[in-house]
Point group: C2
Chain length 127, copies 2
């Protein structure tokens, strides 16, 4: 049976109070402000549990780290290859999950990642 834990709650809080897409280590640093002796393993274990439950999304953009996202609204992620920034882009309808469903699958969470170069980096390029 799943039990409450102060650590898990704190981790979820940190994730839900940022619009960035932090790594486990970043979350670790933030949670330590509240629970100084929390262990990095605890952060990993809970991020993984929260992700399994679907309360959090795990986003892999290919920079060598797993990123986590507590934003539960429907959105896609734009990853800029130049600056590494991940930006949320809101979506109106979940066309893809719909298409998946039509093909006989039962989806429970989605990660949409688009790679490219962001406007800011494109501008810099022209110098």
């Amino acid at each position: 049976m799943k039990k409450y834990s102060r650590q898990r709650e704190a981790i979820l809080d940190v994730l839900c109070s940022t619009d960035t897409h932090p790594t486990a280590n970043w979350v670790y640093d933030r949670v330590r402000e509240t629970i100084p002796n929390i262990s990095l393993g605890t952060v990993y274990r809970n991020l993984s549990a929260l992700s399994e439950e679907g309360r959090v999304i795990s986003v892999s953009v290919g920079d060598g780290y797993e990123h986590f996202d507590g934003n539960d609204s429907l959105h896609a992620h734009f990853y800029c290859k130049k600056c590494g920034k991940i930006t949320d882009v809101a979506l109106e309808n979940d066309y893809l999950a719909e298409a998946i469903r039509k093909n006989g699958f039962t989806p429970d969470s989605s990660v949409y990642i688009v790679r490219g170069v962001c406007g800011e980096c494109n501008a810099k390029e022209k110098n």
Copy 2:
């Protein structure tokens, strides 16, 4: 300047002649049938280069491995949490890249991943 390499060509061939989503190691094993002394590092380097060029897509489903996909048609990936199988689901329109573009970004490649349980595993569940 980018130069031709027999190794890179063989790696791309392997990726384009399967509808699975292999890991670097699987590709390595397959390419060794043709080029027995190819190095695993070479496979990694070229997969990464091909992915950078957009000739190949890198798909992270959260099983601890990076998966690669040589299928260049527009599709989403359904990842079954139970059996680990990754299935391609064809898409008609790239709504998401479109939404991204409307937000001022310049996309160049997309990875759409939907997690859930596949029909087969759902059926097994009921026994």
